[in-house]
């Protein structure tokens, strides 16, 4: 699995390298990493049933930016998506007890 991913990333880097030069290759990798981290956070939040509906649109925007070669923006958007995912996880953890204080009694 890890190996496969490595090969895919390597291939991407090579492709990018061929097309637009090595300067952007690192950015593609940075985008891939940021995107992976965001997706992991999203999935964790979703498993807790606390996913925010802001995360997927941010990642979609990031994908569009990456495709257009704007890796800086793509990484930024992925980072934001990851932060939303992490905030959702924190919310889930907090609410698992906090809700009891707001119940009508």
């Amino acid at each position: 699995m890890t190996r496969k991913l490595w090969i895919v990333s390597a291939a991407t880097i090579v492709c990018s390298g061929l097309n637009v030069g090595t300067a952007l290759a690192a950015d593609q990798a940075a985008y891939d990493a940021a995107c992976k981290a965001a997706e992991a956070a999203r999935q964790s939040a979703a498993e807790m049933r606390y996913e925010w509906n802001t995360i997927k649109p941010l990642m979609e925007k990031a994908g569009v930016a990456a495709q257009a070669g704007d890796y800086e923006r793509a990484v930024k958007l992925c980072d934001e998506a990851r932060k939303h995912g992490e905030a959702a996880m924190a919310q889930a953890k907090h609410e698992s007890e906090a809700w009891k204080l707001s119940a009508v009694r």
Binding site: A46, R49, Y50, E51, W52, N53, T54, I55, K56, H84, A87, A88, Q91, E95, S96, E97, A98, W99, K100, L101, S102, A103, V104, R105
Partner: protein, 275 residues
Amino acid sequence: MKRILVTILGMALVAGLAWATPEEDRQAFIDYHKKRFPNVAVEDYVNGVYAINPPAYQQWLQIEEFPPYELAMAEGKELFETPFANGKTYADCFPNGGVGIRQNYPYFDAETGQVKTLELEVNECREANGEAPYKYSKGKMAAISAYMAFTSRGQKLNIVIPDDPRAQAAYEDGKAYYYSKRGQLNFSCADCHVVNSGMMIRADMLSPALGHPTHFPVYRSKWDDMGTLHRRFGGCNKQVRAEPLPAQSEEYRNLEYFLTYMSNGMDVNGPGARK
């Protein structure tokens, strides 16, 4: 020192809450609404926001002259009465031939250990008779649900939480869902419909929680369409910027279990028309 005291008090409350029975919850829920809207009779909450918003009530009465859900009801009646390919009908799947039974849903099914909703059983009936299931949010499911609710109008909601830890857990789970903040806006269901009911959110008045499930499914002008209770749950989740869960997911069924229990004893008056 003060903070410690508050914390201790808070913990005591949390501990105390764990012991509230569903019936105590329901009584507290009604008392809350009586205090919040002293001029509204409990039985009027079946009309949702129209119980607390007189100008909107007047327009609603005009819509009720010939409510758009009657088209869905007619479709639902026809679907309900049309036999499946194997010759059986919905009437064979439900108690009392499926007529006048809405008030008993959702219920806890000891066999599966799950909360069963009316819509879930409509699809179980279809599949048991070799038919493809309907989608849960709208369309034919909402039409059948509308017809079955109509045949139950005036019956009193009678949600039972049996002496079974799994049933109580399902109720507690639904209650937790109702009061937990979620989404980017960090709102719970209760933040809008309990704490702030009657307040305006932009141009809309927030409807009170008591009586909410009595009038579903609804024809919503905003949708220009019919929708089930779970479609509305999804809409509420989206509005606080949370990803909605699938209609008939365990969480939504448990939520319906809790929320409907809160309205126990009130009349079924679905289907409804809402803005």
